[in-house]
């Protein structure tokens, strides 16, 4: 049951366009909901504005229909799909994600976005997409944006706790895919495995995953001399840059993950500072 004070996608988007503003919070329609793994779901949402404005690394806020749990739940956009749809992939970890997993096609969900400053994919290069678990979704979008670009190659290296739930989607978008589960190692194992094939002049690492993983990837990149872009997580109060809750320490000061990021160059991040203590999954 949902009695919503917010207005439908199309109206908000029209109103914002008329006023020359960004579209604010709005109610959009869920178009698909499919399990990819135990407690991991793939959800599609129809929202024309998002479908037209979804840079790789950008995320959206979803909001619970139960106003007792009012804070934003941020999720990386994993793909743009035909019919003005976007896709997210999420794990059920609490109240909000549980509620979202119960949504059915045709039902409504409130959202805000696109949010954040994404990956820099300007350069033609060999992109190494290094992802862990629920950090894979923004890399899928990166792969989608890079697909078919001339002078570009893509290799995905994915680490999972157990089931390799994102391999099928990612595999269809990249030139090469290697994945591993906890039992056999981690993405550093994969990086070491492919390191022989890397053209260090042409390679750019994009990474997203649990903080310890990204820390290890950043260290590996530094050691190897490769540029790396890290897509960070942080507990958010607004997701659009107003509350200063989500900061991370960088050589340029305490920056907002939601607006200055979530993507930061690995060599700008201060990995052990207080500002990045929270462990993302």
């Amino acid at each position: 049951m949902k009695t919503n004070l917010f207005i439908s996608t199309s109206r908000v988007e029209e109103q914002a366009e008329r006023a020359g503003r960004l579209p604010g919070r709005r109610t959009a329609q869920v178009t698909g909901m499919e399990p990819l793994d135990r407690q991991v779901w793939r959800m599609t949402i129809r929202d024309p504005y998002l479908a037209a404005h979804a840079p790789a690394g950008a995320f959206i806020n979803l909001y619970s229909a139960d106003r007792m749990t009012m804070m934003p739940r941020p999720f990386g956009i994993s793909r743009v799909l035909a019919g003005e749809q976007i896709e997210i992939i999420f794990a059920v970890v609490g109240q909000g994600t549980n509620e979202f997993s119960l949504l059915q096609p045709g039902m409504a969900v409130d959202l805000l976005g696109p949010l954040g400053h994404g990956f820099d994919l300007e350069k033609p290069a060999d992109y190494l997409l290094v992802g862990g678990g629920l950090g894979v979704p923004p890399l899928i979008r990166a792969a989608q944006c890079l697909q078919g670009r001339s002078g570009v190659s893509t290799t995905a290296l994915l680490g999972y706790r157990d089931h390799r739930f994102a391999d099928a989607i990612m595999g269809s978008l990249t030139d090469r895919l290697e994945s591993i589960d906890n039992a056999s190692g981690d993405v550093i194992t994969l990086l070491d495995r492919v390191s022989g094939d890397i053209d260090t002049e042409r390679t750019i690492i994009l990474t997203c995953g649990p903080l310890p993983m990204m820390r290890a990837v950043a260290a590996w990149a530094r050691k190897t001399g490769l540029p790396a872009q890290c897509c960070m997580e942080s507990r958010m109060g607004c997701g659009y840059g107003t509350c200063v809750a989500c900061v991370v320490d960088t050589v340029d000061g305490r920056l907002k993950v939601c607006k200055d990021g979530p993507v930061f160059a690995a060599d700008r991040l201060i990995w052990d500072a207080e500002g990045s203590k929270e462990m993302p999954r």
Partner: protein, 323 residues
């Protein structure tokens, strides 16, 4: 947020909060005219973030993030935790300092035509004095002295809970500026009236209340607080009834002081409750964090509600309040 009938909901749905609008019901706070009685609450407005979503000059006023004499780093993260119908934050006044504010956010806001309430933070009387002096001949329309932040270890709430210390501070600041000076009060006190009086006696032109209530959440998987800082400040709809009673009690005791009501406002209707409790204006805080356009929507809804309440609207226009 309660008592919205279908018809009213349809109005809300039909309303375009971004459409150009001629405000019918303004207010006056300590001599400063506001286009409408709805401002943004300090710490929940950032020009770069909010300006994308609506025309910030159309708010009654913009209360900016607390500024300190020098840049402050704020607290470690995590800085927010959810709570039922609200949130707990321990941002700790991270801000780039008053010098940056004077060359960046303030002139840009004024250039847009906004009415600006500059929120002032400090760790000591000296800190507050420095900021107020620096702002004395700035284009800020009003100053809001934040003696109520629960997230800094010195200054902040410790001044706001001690009537004598507060009176001393406000008396000192009064000597430094002629700008309308709003003192922002904390609800974490036994006797709000005593503190309110101390501020007014010290020379406050207006009061704003409430700031956040001390609160926390615990992660049951670790047994430790979610916020790195342990405790933080609670805001959002959950504090609405508490905030209303603070405004009400101050209004009963001090019939003439202008009051900006704050706490849990998320609709024209909840804003209106504050006006009936005796506020001359209101500010929208946490609601803006979960819907960037919320402050503008609240202002538009209130403008409509005041159409049907000409007595109240008339009082506000004259700088008076409902009794």
């Amino acid at each position: 947020m309660s008592q919205r009938t279908i018809a009213e909901m349809q109005t809300a749905i039909a309303m375009d909060p971004l459409e150009p609008h001629v405000w019918r019901h303004g207010t006056v706070v300590a001599g400063t005219p506001w286009k409408n009685p709805v401002g943004t609450a300090s710490g929940t407005f950032n020009l770069d973030a909010c300006g994308g979503y609506y025309d910030v000059s159309q708010m009654g006023a913009i209360s900016t993030k607390g500024v300190s004499p020098v840049p402050w780093e704020g607290n470690p993260t995590p800085r927010t935790a959810e709570s039922p119908a609200g949130m707990v934050n321990s941002v700790g006044l991270q801000n780039p300092g008053v010098d940056h504010y004077l060359v960046d956010e303030l002139p840009r806001l004024k250039a847009l035509g906004a009415t600006v309430v500059t929120n002032v933070a400090g760790h000591s009387d000296e800190d507050y004095a420095i900021v107020v002096e620096r702002l004395a001949d700035s284009p800020a329309d009003m100053l809001e002295i934040n003696v109520s932040c629960p997230n800094v270890s010195h200054g902040g709430m410790s001044v706001g809970t001690d009537a004598k210390a507060l009176n001393r501070l406000i008396t000192r600041l009064r000597g430094l500026t002629d700008k309308p000076m709003v003192v922002k009060l904390t609800p974490n006190v036994t006797d709000i009236v005593e503190v309110a009086r101390a501020a007014v006696d010290g020379g406050a032109d207006a009061l704003s209340l409430i700031n956040t209530l001390v609160g926390m959440r615990i992660d049951i998987n670790t047994g430790k607080p979610i916020l790195a800082q342990g405790t933080g400040g609670v805001s959002g709809p959950c504090i609405l009834p508490i905030a209303l009673s603070f405004v009400w009690r101050v209004r009963q005791a001090l019939p003439d002081i202008p009051i900006i009501g704050i706490g849990g406002i998320d609709s024209g209707r909840t804003a209106l409750e504050f006006l009936y409790a005796g506020a001359n204006a209101v500010e929208v805080g946490a609601a803006a964090l979960v819907d960037p356009v919320a402050p503008m929507r609240v202002a538009r809804e209130l403008d409509d509600l005041l159409d049907e309440r000409p007595d109240l609207a008339e009082l506000l226009k004259k700088g008076k309040c409902w009794r």
